[in-house]
Symmetry: C2
Subunit: 318 residues, 2 copies
């Protein structure tokens, strides 16, 4: 048997786990990162956490082939260097794969968390057996991972798949990134909430109050209310889906993928979101590639980050 370690590295914590060749998680654990420590100390800590999980697993060392690390922020997957880690600036510039690899005597591989999750869905989730797949993750931002001819496509400066910053309107909403009409402004968390509030301000009745999180409207609350028939929420999901479908049509026209995988919070709304996504795609995509693509929900759920991170090792070692 072959095993792969995944390190799902986030702003506040680290999840470490080990998967087998079928993508099953055999063991997992989570740890808290202290962003005030030095870069070197944080790397040391990540290595210690990883050693602990490996030891706890009692798996034979020699069958654990390598380590994949998924990280937020900007990084260089070829050199394994972190560039900008939003919540942990002490890690900026650190060669994370070298630090981990040296301490654990196993090859380590780094990529951004969205690419990692996309690869996880491709190997072990909804995209199993496909060749050309694009995975979208809807959350505060909108991330994308592109797998072409069976391999992650990273682009010339490793920013391929910035689907959240695809501009869908020439004179569209201003985005924090400095540009106009970015998809993220329409189907990211804030865009979805803005759309909801726009309808509510018109005095349309809503049952959203029963689903608030900490007293606030969130995409999750909207998805829950919609599932119970809340009209505004259903309409918000419909519009969100259609806009997303329009953007997906562009991906379909350009890249002619077999499958688009949609994950992240709002995707839990299920068909109330997915059906308008397909409608929007069909309205705007060219007939042949439109007929060739499936649009489906992500399958790995909460484990997507961990399985995805381990997949980075799989991709490099298989």
């Amino acid at each position: 048997m072959k095993y792969y370690v995944g390190i799902d590295f986030g702003g506040t914590g680290i999840k470490v786990g080990i998967i087998d060749e079928k993508g099953n998680i055999l063991i997992k654990d989570s740890f808290v990162t202290d962003p005030r420590k030095s870069g070197n100390e944080i790397v040391e800590h990540i290595a210690e956490c990883t050693k602990k999980v490996i030891n706890d697993s009692k798996l034979p060392q020699e069958h654990i082939l390598g380590i994949g690390i998924g990280s937020p922020g900007l990084l260089n997957p070829e050199t394994g260097q972190l560039k900008i880690v939003t919540n942990i600036p002490n890690l900026n510039g650190v060669y994370l794969t070298k630090g981990i690899s040296d301490r654990l005597n196993k090859p380590a591989f780094l990529d951004n968390d969205v690419n990692a999750m996309s690869l996880g869905e491709f190997y072990y989730g909804a995209g199993k057996g496909k060749k050309n797949v694009i995975a979208l993750t809807l959350g505060t931002g909108v991330g994308g991972g592109i797998i072409l001819n069976g391999e992650l496509y990273r682009g010339s400066t490793f920013t391929a798949g910035e689907i959240g910053h695809m501009s869908i309107a020439r004179d569209g909403k201003y985005c924090g990134c400095g540009n106009y009409g970015c998809l993220e402004r329409y189907v990211g968390k804030d865009g979805i909430i803005e759309r909801f509030e726009m309808y509510r301000s018109k005095g349309i009745e809503t049952s959203i109050d029963a689903y608030l999180e900490d007293g606030k409207v969130t995409p999750k609350a909207i998805a829950l209310a919609a599932a119970k028939g809340d009209k505004i929420s259903i309409e918000v999901l419909k519009e969100t889906g259609e806009i997303l479908g329009h953007a997906i049509a562009t991906l379909v026209n350009i890249l002619n993928p077999e499958m688009i995988i949609i994950g992240g919070g709002i995707s839990n709304a299920g068909e109330l979101l997915m059906e308008p996504v397909r409608t929007g795609m069909l309205k705007h995509a060219y007939t042949i590639p439109a007929a060739a693509v499936e649009i489906v929900r992500a399958q790995l759920g909460n484990d997507a980050g961990l399985v995805g991170s381990a997949s980075l090792a799989v991709a490099n070692l298989k």
Copy 2:
């Protein structure tokens, strides 16, 4: 030395040529196709024309490694079968590469003309030495060819790069393809002329009459008038460029290429078009990939089709 034959196959004629390893055309000739002949007869004719050029070249047979064929319409580059050849329906369903390869005893390779031209620019034109390049061809339609990691990317059903049918506006102009807001409707020949006529109908003075082709406004006439300072024409190029730049921003965000190459009739307008293209791209693209991409004009000009077709053989045989 290694030589490659290119067959640039169009609705009304065939161009056949031979290039050397540097992409220089050593010989070329052109022939007329009779679309009323049977599929088999047309293939026979193409083979005869090709034999003639090979013989005329007096190059040693064994150094001519293979044949690349660029064709309009729908086709399958893997099987070498033509699917829908718009102006020559008798060729629909014909296995062109087998027909040519059997008759000339050399390996033959088929792809659509836009992919061929893109590959030509990649190997021997503006894209030389790059890895990730997108080439756009502006004409009646807008075509695109995508080269990623040094190879032509074709997609799951060989329609990748349908950039003309990227939808740039959610409730945009209706397109003949059945969808809305297709880029082609804005920056293709008809879209450019519509924009010109819209300005002229407002009574703005123009010197276009000095540049008409067969008494008609064309993108070429607009480019010529603009070069001589015609205000409407300059404005039309500016708007066309900015819209194209917006669409290119999406390509930049998704694929993070090193270079975008723009060819086809209207690209002859030069900086009057290219500068607004860059402005439009920078306004809508994400900062990092925007900084990493060059937008340049195609270099192969009238020979793009021939060199491109031969490049299909290069790609498969090098």
